[in-house]
Symmetry: C2
Subunit: 686 residues, 2 copies
């Protein structure tokens, strides 16, 4: 028995004859557009529709062409479905236009210009619940969220969010699978949109007409992460990350969901220029954060992945005074401001994965003298970077969090790398009720935990770089000490990955994961080999280019000191490259194929350019329109050798320099799996 029919029957006044329903049986369900709005530049238009069963949906046009076809809005709540019998109550629109400054970032100033549409919706039956749907329309996309008004002392239990994204046109999509609820460390699928399965966000797609879209979310606060399942056709539907206990999200109203975001541009490089995710987050809540400075850092890390050292104690322990001093000297000598040390604290000797019951966040192994090493580092103008691996034992970590942060603060450590190496279901934390419960990496409990760590760390003037994190959703705007995240396959897969990262991997990251925020990828393995000499599928020059292409305010120089000594020419770029930017231009790119990015050093006049390719060779024409007018620049070029190739000629490399000026067109030749890095320095008096 079909429901909408009976439902309709009951929703209508008894007087209204059913015959009305049958006037044109073949005509699709009648729908009324109850609200519309467009972006300030007029390119994007959203329409909010109430169908004749009282179902709520939205659609989006761009430049007069459908971008998102009718897509459902709604919730499955613990006290019933909030999706049918909905009626339009009221609407309001308001423009907004301001420009805000990032303490550090891809660009110093960000323009935040949008039109907001607020639509108030009410149930016509049952509990007569009310909620608003709020849209913000930008030139580079839109965000929308649900807002629940005050509704008594009972918490709102969200069993599922029914939000849909029904892409109007065919195209190719890039995505990683969801459903393991584990981590974001997968190789990217490149499939037709109609072949998307169950995906984590961002999901990026290139539509038939070349338009690029990416679906993600912004400001994931006290809510579960959104995944997308393709129900059928090109209709993607929200599936919230689960967790233990009642509902996927439990909140006291008033509250609002994260922003559901659709970034859109005419091409891939336009997509990578978008600031939508940042703009949809709240302004800085921490005030002055000048106690953290973007930096490059070395560390005791790669040697563990090579298995020449261990995290655990014993003859091959990596975090020894002697070895750490070696790295401090290396950092100091080359101008790197930080030294990460993993495996310094007690707890690595047992079975720690997904357990972490032995980790101690204030007590170090006897062969690691934290005060002495901190002092030594300081004497060298370097600081240690802290490390807190939880293995998912969040309850234990939180119980030591304040002491752990206070210790680091005393030691002059102002950046900590956290880790959550655990499977879904391994993570345990204490709920609001103080009881131990399981959590998923991207569930509501972990969203709360990550913000708690970031907020507590801020009080101790410590910045956080989370690995196996919750997804990035632009919260670095509100909490600038959340400087970076991992959240994708990083360099360590080139040490032991089965398979290691393919040559296209970073060209996928630029247009997917990196749209969400900075990534601590740790580029720069100039030795180009992993454990047992497993070759890294990259050229030498590409390793340099990654420092510009993959943005992070904290960039590791991860290879072993003795390895860098072997490649002084290439290493020079790593020493020179900036980590903080006043401006960024994505000059060209195709998802998964190639990308070229130019960034202007913040607090300086230098520009840096990075260009990377997938497994194919290509030559890119790059107009130097970003350089200042009338200035001559010395271009220090680090390029692939003529015969360079990711397979067999990985080390074929050339360094050369020439003078260039704005308006010139640079021809950048990238080898298969190759790259190019350039430093542009203004030359006085020319």
């Amino acid at each position: 028995m079909f429901v909408s029919f009976r439902r309709q029957r009951c929703a209508m006044a008894a007087a209204l004859s059913l015959w009305a329903l049958f006037l044109a049986p073949f005509e699709p369900a009648r729908a009324a557009t109850v609200a519309e709005a467009q972006s300030p530049d007029g390119s994007l238009r959203v329409s909010v529709v109430v169908e004749d069963e009282g179902k709520l949906s939205y659609r989006v046009d761009r430049k007069g062409v459908a971008l998102i076809a009718d897509s459902r809005l709604g919730m499955l709540l613990g006290n019933g479905r909030l999706e049918r019998n909905l009626a339009f109550v009221s609407k309001s629109t308001s423009p907004h236009d301001d420009t805000w400054e990032q303490p550090w970032g891809e660009r110093q100033f960000v323009r935040n210009r949008y039109n907001e549409l607020r639509v108030a919706i009410g149930e016509t039956l049952g509990a007569k619940r009310r909620f608003d749907v709020v849209f913000r329309l930008y030139e580079d996309g839109l965000g929308f969220r649900y807002e629940f008004p005050e509704q008594g002392p009972e918490p709102v239990v969200i069993e599922e969010e029914l939000t849909e994204f029904n892409l109007a046109h065919e195209g190719t999509a890039w995505w990683i699978p969801a459903g393991e609820w584990n981590r974001e460390e997968y190789l990217y699928h490149r499939t037709p949109i109609e072949a998307i399965g169950f995906a984590q966000t961002p999901v990026t797609a290139k539509l038939a007409d070349g338009t690029h879209v990416s679906i993600h979310e912004a400001a994931l606060v006290d809510y579960s992460g959104m995944n997308l399942v393709r129900v059928d056709g090109r209709r993607l539907k929200s599936v919230l990350t689960p967790g233990e206990g009642v509902g996927k999200v439990v909140r006291l109203a008033p509250f609002h969901t994260p922003w559901r975001t659709v970034q859109v541009a005419d091409d891939a490089s336009g997509l990578a220029m978008s600031s939508l995710i940042l703009n949809l987050n709240e302004p800085n809540k921490l005030g002055n954060v000048s106690w953290f400075k973007p930096m490059k850092y070395a560390g005791v890390w790669w040697e563990m992945h090579l298995d020449s050292k261990t995290w655990s104690s014993g003859p091959r322990h990596g975090a020894t005074n002697e070895n750490v001093i070696r790295h401090i000297d290396f950092a100091a000598k080359n101008g790197f401001k930080g030294v990460l040390v993993e495996g310094w604290n007690l707890g690595w000797d047992g079975h720690w994965f997904g357990d972490g019951g032995e980790f101690d966040f204030t007590r170090s192994y006897p062969d690691f003298d934290l005060p002495k090493l901190s002092a030594y580092a300081k004497s060298k103008g370097v600081q240690l970077i802290g490390h807190h691996e939880t293995a998912g034992n969040v309850a234990r970590y939180e119980s030591q969090l304040d002491a752990a942060l206070a210790l680091y603060q005393r030691m002059g450590v102002n950046a900590v790398k956290t880790g959550y190496v655990a499977d879904a279901g391994d993570i345990q934390l204490r709920g609001a009720d103080g009881k131990l419960r399981r959590a998923w990496h991207e569930g509501q409990d972990m969203a709360r935990h990550h913000l708690k760590v970031v907020s507590e760390a801020a009080k101790h003037h410590i910045a956080i770089n989370a690995h196996e994190p919750i997804k990035s959703t632009g919260l670095r705007r509100t909490y600038p000490n959340w400087i970076s995240n991992e959240g994708a396959r990083g360099m360590e897969y080139n040490a032991w990955g089965k398979p290691p990262n393919p040559p296209e991997h970073e060209a996928n990251l630029v247009f997917t994961r990196l749209l969400a925020g900075p990534m601590d990828f740790t580029p720069g393995i100039l030795s180009l080999s992993g454990a047992k000499g497993m070759p890294i599928q990259s050229t030498l020059a590409k390793q340099l280019a990654l420092y510009v292409v993959l943005y992070s305010p904290i960039q590791m120089v991860p290879d072993l000191p003795e390895h860098y000594e072997r490649y002084p020419d290439a290493f020079q770029f790593i020493k020179d490259v900036a980590v903080d930017w006043s401006d960024t231009r994505v000059l060209n790119g195709e998802v998964g194929d190639y990308a070229t990015v130019a960034r202007k050093q913040r607090g300086g006049d230098d520009w840096f350019l990075g260009s990377i390719s997938d497994e194919n060779a290509r030559t890119l024409k790059v107009p130097l329109d970003f350089l200042d007018v009338g200035k001559t620049y010395r271009a220090e070029i680090y390029r692939d050798g003529a015969d360079a190739h990711w397979k067999d000629e990985r080390f074929s490399f050339a360094r050369e320099s020439r003078d260039v000026r704005r308006g010139e067109v640079l021809s950048i030749r990238l080898a298969p799996g190759g790259g190019q890095a350039i430093r542009f320095t203004p030359v006085d008096g020319r």
Copy 2:
């Protein structure tokens, strides 16, 4: 940071050097086959594999060719993931071969021949939990389930089941979407396997080599229904239907999951011959159920869907004494044993959809005299068929269940149609704790409820035919009074569906929904029009053929008496056709295109044949090999007229008869959207 590496590191004895891991970095994860078994006929072989991280998977070959590639086994439990660090403990195999009798069904005797493989698995770490995976291998497919041994007083909380079905070859799939958690009333998608989205089961696929498979489940008892999400490629993964409260399933061990089933055959007709789902259910627990007899039934129903009558009271009330008597007389005159009456009881006048707060299951509207009508029916050799619409208010229904069933038993009613017209989240019932909670149509709570109704009904010698039911999983074997279900788009969509059922709909049902069990489709609308004269996309002959093609032990004769009077020739077949069978042969078919089924009347010598087509005309050669040797049969043929067409010549119809014998080949011509029905009656002395 990649996990399997560290995990491996910890899982191994400390002594074992990591180098072992790197001997061949590019080689896939090592896997060990720990158990194997094959079907009695040797066609199917299953292998159970433990991968080097202690992940459990299985694969299936058929006739030496991969059918299901490595597919994950595991659970996400409230107390952690049961999926890594698993080790083989022991295995045992046992053959089984018996034949059992159905009280009614598609065939009288069913052979249940399989080899069982039991694999005991244990966790190597953490809680050291234990469980078994049990496989049963048949010629027509396999089933497997998880069995949890006794493990203390704490209930096992299942957050998700990680079971995968990774189809080894490309092919075409037929499926309906999941994720609304509402009902099973959707049009079928026909897509490449790689374009399956989020699907309800059964999911049926035709592989490149012609092999047909269908994935479903058997014996869904006290557990949540399984849906399938295509994560990527051809890898389908279980998503259990959610519900309110903690976990998707909560059970006290020992317990086992339903059987996850894979039916397989060389062609579509072979698939439709499978008894796998029934065989994987427990034997009859009710004993003698002769108090119910398969029957055809008329009723007060279609006129409401035409909106000439109403369920609610008032001038157009359908369930009046006068109108019911009219239907009783019609049934009696034509030999139909039952008369369904909807809208007889109090509660239909308010907003009942998804509410049902007014429904009274023992008190009737004043214009409906249950005792009088029951007595009148009995005097005519007819019985009333009861109706219990809950609108999802299961709590209210259960509170009146015993009284409602007792009343019907007193009135001589021994079949009841139940209904659950509600959306996910609208359904409310009382949990084990007596508290009101929401439920989803196919969640664990509803699995419990449906079996409760069926069990209670049996005590009152009442059979149940559930609409908007939980999916069919063969429980009719164990509880034979669960005679039928709806659970797909039925005939009523042809009254007001937008769109109505397309001509291919029933040819989809035969190879998808009907694999799960009987369906109360209610064929036989000879007037071929819905509300406002909306044309039904079928020929007259096809309406007759559906009585044979779509199996149910209770078949409705739903059209209005005056409509049947208009088509005496066609109506004759509906009067003659049997509803219980000693044998069934699916003679040919292609999913969504056509199907021909022959069935032998139980307790008689007649054979009946039904053949249906989609929107295309076709001529099928049908060898009459099912007829008895040496007998001559009078074939009463009800066929499409030469110009019949579902669009404009729906009523073009011919009836003819001829003598036939086994060995002859019948040429069956089906019009576009057409069908053919034949009754074969042995002719004495020839």
